[in-house]
Each structure stands twice: as C-alpha cells, then as structure tokens.
C-alpha cells in the first residue's frame, strides 16, 4: 500500500513537458553520433535506432540506464536532468566497438 502511494505521488509530480529528442543510430555496432551534447539540468529523450540485424543493449553505469534494442528497431531512453560532466555509454553486446558518451554542459 505504501509503495502504491509513493508511486501515485511520484506520478503526480512527473513533469508534463515534452523532453527534447536526440537521435542516435547504431550501425555496424557503432553509435552515430558517438558523442552527444546536452544542456545542464535538462531532461532529454534519446531515440536510438538500431539499424543492425543484431540486437544491442544500450548501457551506462554513469547514467544508470540499460535497455535492449532488437535489430532493425528503435528504443527510447530518457536521461537527465544531469549536472555538467561526461557520461560514457556503451553497447553491452558489442562493447569493443559500440562506445559513446553524453557530454552535459
């Protein structure tokens, strides 16, 4: 019951404004662009388009995000609001090549 109440409260205070969208493409197990710049203290929607046949898992320990994106499909990940800094992300299924970072400034 308590958890339900907390969830309802959090839902009520979730901002209603649409977040700006940043498009990222996964092709040949690489992120394009591999560096994404976003403003400080702003929530951003990452729209990740996996154009490979293989699935990829967008992962970032620094951003606290993890999402599986099957081949030839898209995925949405919300990040921020964040303080200034660099936040690396990688593709867990192809970590040697799929590397990128979000620069917040």
């Amino acid at each position: 019951m308590r958890i339900l109440l907390i969830i309802c409260l959090m839902l009520a205070i979730t901002p209603l404004f649409a977040a700006p969208t940043v498009n990222i493409v996964i092709r040949h197990h690489l992120f394009y662009p591999s560096t994404v710049e976003i403003p400080v203290d702003t929530k951003v929607k990452l729209l990740i388009d996996n154009q490979d046949q293989t699935a990829e898992e967008f992962e970032s320990y620094e951003l606290n995000r993890e999402k599986v994106i099957p081949g030839h499909s898209k995925g949405v990940v919300f990040i921020g609001p964040l303080p200034a800094g660099e936040y690396p992300f990688f593709g867990e299924f192809f970590p040697k090549t799929a590397q990128g970072k979000v620069i917040v400034k």
């Binding site: 308590r2 958890i3 907390i6 929530k43 320990y61 606290n64 994106i69």
Partner: protein, 258 residues
C-alpha cells in the same frame, strides 16, 4: 565475441539461477509437488519466447517505453509474489497461495532473463560464422551459471530444516528488495517516476561493471549511484519483507527435534 557471449549469458543465467535455486529448495523443504515447479518453468520459457519475438513492438508501446513498463510490472509482480510466499510458507491453510506465489516468481524471472538471452542469440541467426561462436560462448556461460545454481541448491538443501528455512527467508527478503529498486529504476528510465540526483556514488569502491559489482547486483540489486526513490523503495521493501519473514520463522511448524 566468444568471451563476450560467455559473460552476457553467464550474467543472465546466474541471476535466474540464484532465484530458481532458492525456490527449488523451498519446494523441497515445504514438500510441494514438483509438477508445479516444472510447469512454472515451462510457462516462463514459453512466455520468454513470446516476449523476445514481440519485443520490438512492445518497446514502442506507451511512446517508446513499453519495455520498461512491462519489465517494471514483472519486477513488481515478483516482489508481490515474494511477499505472499514469505507470508504463506509453512501455513497449511495458505498452501495454494504458496504454490501460486512460487509459480509467479519463477515465471517472471524466466521471462525477464530468458527473453534477453533469446534476443541476443536470435540476432546472429543468418550469420553462420558468428552464430557458431556465440552459441559456443552461450553454452559455456549457461553451464557456469547453471553450475552456480546447482551449487547453491545443494548448499541450502543440506542445511538442517531450521537453518535452511532461515537462509531461504533471508534470500527471499533480499531478492524482494532488489526487485523493487530495479522496478523503480525502470520507471525512472521511462520518465514515469521523477529522475533525481543520486544519493551517493560508490563507483570508485565497487564499479557496477566489475565482477564483484555484477555479483552484488544479482544478490542485492547493487547500484553505485542510486536515487532517493530507489533507496527508499529498497529499504521499505526490506522492512516489510523482513517483518513478514520474522513472523513466518517464529510461527513455523517444525518437525519434532528441530
């Protein structure tokens, strides 16, 4: 690619093996018929294939966060099932609740971990050269993860009943708290719960990417930068599940001599 496949599959199988081994031990200790356990495993397997096949369209539900919402629901369902299990175990009138709670936990765990394995492997179908390596790595990873589960099972099943139930209850309490924090994390990622600054950062001590970090994640739901919502959810679940566990342990009907 081989090493990467081993790590990916090992991580998924390890997480599932921990939960499955605890539940299997409970089935034995509580003398529940094995057919319920096996049918739940079967149901979880079928649902994970269905989820993996439709994940692309499920992901695009709710403006692109369908995957997070469904996964969060599965984690919350597991949490609720665990609470029911902790409450009902060993009480004859609540026998059916115990059986359904174990079935719910098992199925949800298998869907979550199994679907990711299927999604990973099915992407390589059509690329024979890579598929061979990926399958080899997956078998090694699954074998190691499965061995850990077997080890955990025999470690717990050979404990004296009182100790065995106590260890199982502690494991269930920790898993339930971990489920809540993971569900909250997914709802934050989906922009349903508000995103907050982390309460602390322990990444310089234990990185989430390290082996210890991965083991702690599977055992305790470890996050190096948890937000206040996650920490609050974790401790609330821990308190609630612990209170139920203590009550169950104190009122458990032990065999004579235990």
């Amino acid at each position: 690619m081989l090493i990467n496949s081993v790590i990916i599959i090992l991580r998924e199988v390890f997480e599932a093996a921990l939960i499955v081994s605890v539940l299997l031990v409970l089935c034995q200790k509580l003398q529940l018929p094995r057919r319920y356990f096996l049918s739940s495993l079967g149901l979880g397997g079928v649902l994970s294939i269905f989820y993996a096949r439709h994940i692309a369209s499920i992901s695009m539900f709710f403006d692109g966060v369908g995957q997070e919402i469904l996964n969060a629901c599965m984690h919350l369902m597991t949490f609720i099932c665990l609470l029911f299990l902790i409450f009902s175990m060993g009480r004859r009138p609540y026998y059916k609740i115990t059986v359904w709670a174990i079935a719910g936990c098992l199925s949800a765990t298998l869907v979550g971990e199994g679907s990711e394995i299927i999604i990973y492997i099915q992407g390589f179908i059509g690329n024979e050269q890579l598929l061979e390596t990926v399958l080899a790595g997956s078998f090694i990873g699954a074998g190691v993860g499965f061995s850990v589960g077997v080890f955990m099972y025999y470690l717990m099943i050979n404990l004296r009943p009182r100790k065995g139930i106590a260890v199982s209850l502690v494991a269930l309490v920790l898993i339930s708290a971990s489920m809540t924090t993971q569900a909250f994390q997914l709802l934050i990622q989906a922009d349903i719960l508000i995103s907050q600054a982390p309460l602390w950062n322990t990444s310089s001590w234990v990185s989430e990417g390290s082996v210890i970090g991965q083991i702690l994640y599977a055992l305790l739901g470890y996050e190096s930068t948890p937000t206040p919502i996650q920490v609050g959810g974790y401790f609330l679940s821990l308190i609630l599940a612990s209170a139920l566990a203590v009550r169950t342990f104190n009122t458990f009907k032990w065999e004579k001599g235990e």
